[in-house]
Symmetry: C2
Subunit: 171 residues, 2 copies
């Protein structure tokens, strides 16, 4: 039987930092620099975080993380893939996330999508996520997808991956 | 630690049969009779099932199953409740279901909501659902919520409940 792998959306498939930088620039004219965000939470890095992620179109038009299409295709041929995304905190994101996923990853079926609040009741063998809070309650293999907010998180409990090329190499 | 209970939406909280009868009457003038539907699947009972459930507003304006508000409030005080709803097959239902749930059950937080395709990867101790296909892969206690389509399903693998008064009595 294939192993089941839980793949996060924001910060793993969708480039939320790039989108936050675009929205900040659009709204205030300020060009934020990603190097200044290492080790800060998303809320610390983006004072208007809440406003942006609740804006219409934020999730629908998010740029892709480089290599995510090929990478997810690779996983989907080898594993039982479930896309598990925190979405109910920002309810308008639900339809936007489903549409975005179906547009960019048409090989992912509706049966492979889970939109939730917390991820600690979803079963799997492997989890890829950029948030330690999601990985910490997971009892399988844990892959921490590098993002500025998790740069200072110690790696002892996770396999840290710097991008999709790492995932393909390791999995 | 509290036991975790997975509660289905359609057919347990939302009265999908009542809504299908309303939509059928609105569209074709035909008044369908629920007694003629016993033992038939929803697709057999409602020839326009697919059209109705994909209609704007179908889930947003669904009537409540009698006793569901008091019943869910009762469970929510005693158990760790997760609302687990099949939604991604009909993507427009995602936002409608979240809004409907938040309107009628404001004591359910965003952290307690899961919208998915299949339910076989959601962990819990108890599951309440009207579809045997969801209960059959669940490894905890299984409660089959009576609906016309499951009238002929044998009860040997499930506790059959005829409504929310039964749930409150048994759980």
């Amino acid at each position: 039987m294939r192993q089941q792998i839980l793949v996060d959306m924001d910060g793993v498939l969708a480039d939320v930092y790039a989108q936050l930088i675009i929205f900040e620039h659009r709204d205030s004219g300020i060009k934020l620099n990603i190097e200044n965000m290492y080790g800060k939470t998303e809320l610390e890095a983006f004072p208007s975080f809440e406003k942006h992620v609740r804006s219409k179109g934020f999730f629908r038009t998010a740029p892709l993380i480089p290599g995510s299409i090929e990478g997810l295709k690779y996983l989907n041929e080898k594993y039982n893939v479930l896309i598990v995304s925190s979405a109910t905190e920002f309810p308008q994101s639900l339809n936007e996330k489903e549409e975005w996923l179906s547009e960019h990853f048409p090989f992912i079926t509706w049966e492979q999508m889970i939109f939730c609040g917390r991820k600690d009741s979803i079963r799997g063998n492997i989890m890829i996520d950029d948030h330690p809070k999601n990985l910490s309650t997971f009892d399988g293999e844990r892959y921490l997808f590098a993002q500025p907010h998790n740069m200072c998180v110690p790696d002892r409990n996770y396999h840290r991956v710097s991008g999709w090329q790492d995932i393909i190499r390791l999995l």
